[in-house]
């Protein structure tokens, strides 16, 4: 029983931690659309039109994931979406590194081209892998404390 509660506690920290990550990164991107556009474009993967759409949608998508995690609604589903998005980010950063581009990931605002030698691909990848671990925990074991979904599932509301 205590073991289960401890695991619930770890899961809760993972959930709130990942919520903080998405809310912070989403807000920073949402308040500076021009910067976000430039950051997405710098990966040099998408067409100009697609860059506009991705840069427009991404901040709000991240905020949605963050708010759902904060409330604890659909933790497993949101963790799956989070892991998917993080894998996309990891692929983006990795391809930039492999291709020899000099960019900032723009993960938490910022982004765009930087001088060669100013890149931080290793740190960016390790950070994303850490976030991915939080998401993976919640996919495997979505049970957490103070999650609104416990109430919804129990009462059914419908």
């Amino acid at each position: 029983m205590t073991g289960s509660r401890a695991l619930d506690g770890i899961g809760t920290l993972a959930r709130l931690g990942l919520a903080a990550v998405w809310i912070t990164s989403g807000l920073l991107k949402a308040v500076d659309p021009a910067q976000t556009y430039v950051a997405v474009r710098a990966y040099d993967v998408l067409s100009r039109t697609a860059v506009g759409v991705v840069a427009g949608v991404l901040p709000w998508f991240e905020l949605a994931l963050g708010l759902l995690l904060l409330a604890g609604v659909g933790v497993r589903a949101v963790a799956v979406l989070s892991a998917g998005l993080l894998l996309v980010f990891l692929a983006g950063v990795t391809q930039a590194w492999v291709r020899g581009l000099s960019i900032d990931c723009g993960c938490f605002g910022g982004g765009g081209a930087v001088a060669p030698g100013q890149t931080q691909y290793v740190q960016e990848i390790l950070r994303d892998v850490g976030f991915l671990a939080l998401a993976a925990w919640l996919v495997v074991r979505p049970r957490t404390l103070f999650a609104a979904e416990r109430r919804l599932v129990t009462s059914g509301l419908g």
Partner: protein, 254 residues
């Protein structure tokens, strides 16, 4: 699974729930309704976020290819290219570097609004080609090369289309940028003839462009926190905030 199995399973579940109830434990109903509700909430929130993103994006960008066609005069004075009727009541100064991705975003977001206002004679735009990103191309020098080519395009009478083309196909920072030949071919494709190619190759206005860059960078009215960057948009000589998506309408309204 046979019907008998199902009945047996249901009977056991009911028995188990009865025992839990007798013990005062409220069983967690992992029923479809609860899980479906949760997933429905997730879907609604995620879709709402995507819709918000798309709406904000559409609000903030020019309509696709079918934008208004430029129908305004273009004049040049030194490194400054003036688009629009000289008598237009509002002067917008745009300081831009052809390698600057924010300038490309400004162009893609506001090109149609600006063209419409220029066509209607509501504004004129003084385009100042700036070369602060010369070192951001490899090899260095694309900003100056493109700014020279844009001046040639103004002289050849194709500036609006050429300006749009340099951004529609803008090279990335860190790349070589367009060569003299590529810059020439783009102009030729837009109808520039005669000496356009020689003009692009000569880069005769590099000195003027450098002077304009230095002058702009040293002008406090064009700085934010003591720094000059591109794009900078000024109305009546004072820098304005182009993150306000209504900046042009406000400028026209006075």
């Amino acid at each position: 699974m046979g019907g008998a199995d199902r009945n047996e399973r249901r009977r056991r579940q009911e028995a188990a729930q009865a025992r839990l109830k007798a013990a005062g434990i409220k069983p967690e109903r992992k029923g479809l309704s609860g899980n479906t509700l949760v997933l429905a909430i997730v879907a609604v929130v995620v879709i709402a976020a995507i819709v918000v993103g798309v709406v904000v994006t559409l609000n903030n960008r020019s309509t696709e290819a079918a934008g208004p066609a430029p129908n305004y005069p273009v004049a040049r004075s030194g490194a400054v290219i003036t688009a629009g009727q000289p008598s237009a009541p509002v002067t917008v100064d745009i300081y831009e570097d052809y390698l600057c991705p924010y300038c490309e975003r400004l162009e893609s977001a506001y090109k149609d609004q600006i063209t419409t206002a220029l066509n209607a004679g509501q504004i004129k735009v003084d385009y100042h080609a700036i070369s602060i990103l010369d070192r951001a191309s490899s090899p260095a020098g694309y900003s100056t090369r493109a700014a020279n080519a844009a001046i040639c395009a103004a002289d050849a009478g194709i500036f609006p289309a050429y300006h749009a083309e340099l951004y529609a196909d803008q090279p990335s920072e860190g790349s070589a940028g367009f060569s003299v030949q590529e810059l020439t071919d783009k102009g030729t494709a837009l109808g520039a003839g005669g000496t356009f190619g020689q003009c692009v190759a000569a880069q005769a206005n590099s000195g003027l462009i450098q002077d304009a860059t230095n002058t702009a960078a040293a002008n406090p009215a064009l700085q934010t926190n003591g720094n000059f960057g591109t794009p900078t948009v000024a109305i009546g000589g004072r820098k304005i905030d182009v993150n306000d998506s209504d900046w042009l309408q406000k400028a026209i309204a006075g």
